[in-house]
């Protein structure tokens, strides 16, 4: 499965890029699997995602829980808790 990932705020800064297209192995089923998979891609990912519980994820621009499946996702956003307003 190929998916477009987009990163924001300190997740973007630590990974070092605003996003990327990535091929995911079949073992990546849920949001939680995706975050675990990304930390294996290098220490910049590890540094960004070392505390997965604080990481927020959106599938196709809608908030998603960590146990949600990512099947069908065209775009997955990964970012820290929001601080707007």
């Amino acid at each position: 499965m190929s998916v477009k990932l987009v990163y924001f705020a300190w997740v973007r800064e630590r990974i070092g890029r605003p996003g990327e297209d990535l091929d995911l192995p079949a073992s990546v089923v849920t949001v939680r699997d995706l975050l675990a998979h990304l930390t294996t891609l290098g220490e910049e990912y590890e540094s960004a995602l070392q505390f997965p519980d604080v990481i927020r994820v959106a599938i196709n621009q809608e908030h998603a829980e960590h146990d949600e499946p990512i099947a069908g996702a065209r775009e997955i956003g990964i970012f820290p808790p929001m601080t707007g307003g």
Binding site: A9, A58, Q61, G77, P80, P81, M82, T83, G84, G85
Partner: protein, 154 residues
């Protein structure tokens, strides 16, 4: 009864409260109460030179629209506007505007308050501080108090 749609904008430019208010209330003679909320950049007693607002384009608008629709339905609002700026914002400058119009006052207060509480916790915006000495500062940490404020609407 006609369907009310929220007016949502995400922009780097400043907004004009009076113009937005006029646009929202024009042609409505049954509005008895309008509440506006303006969020501004504080200077933190001189420690802050600017805030940098980052957002998730597309999702920011979509999420604000969802929040706006929830507020309109829950409080039977006659009109709702929400505008959020992005980019570099100086102390004293506007960050966010919410306007809620209703027949009666408590619905207008609650509508604007509800939108702000959900905007804070659900709309994809992030603030980075720039210190007064020119140094890039830290990303603002999310506050538990904001989650608590949101949860009062459950």
């Amino acid at each position: 009864m006609s369907i009310i749609t929220p007016t949502i904008r995400v922009q780097s430019a400043d907004f004009d409260l009076q113009a937005e208010l006029t646009a929202l209330t024009a042609d409505h003679k049954n509005i008895g109460a309008v509440v506006t909320f303006t969020g501004l950049c504080r200077d933190e007693q001189g420690a802050l030179s600017a805030l940098e607002l980052e957002h998730y384009p597309g999702m920011a608008e979509a999420e604000m629209f969802r929040i706006g629709e929830l507020a309109i339905e829950r409080f039977s609002l006659i009109g709702l506007t929400a505008i959020h700026r992005f980019g570099k914002i100086m102390p004293g400058e506007n960050i966010v505007l919410v306007i809620a119009a209703a027949p009666h006052r408590q619905a207008a207060f609650d509508g604007a308050n509800f939108v702000m509480d959900f905007l804070k916790t659900s709309a994809p915006f992030w603030k980075k501080e720039h210190a007064a000495d020119g140094q890039q500062g830290d990303w603002v940490a999310a506050k538990d108090a904001d989650d608590t404020a949101r949860d009062k609407w459950r």
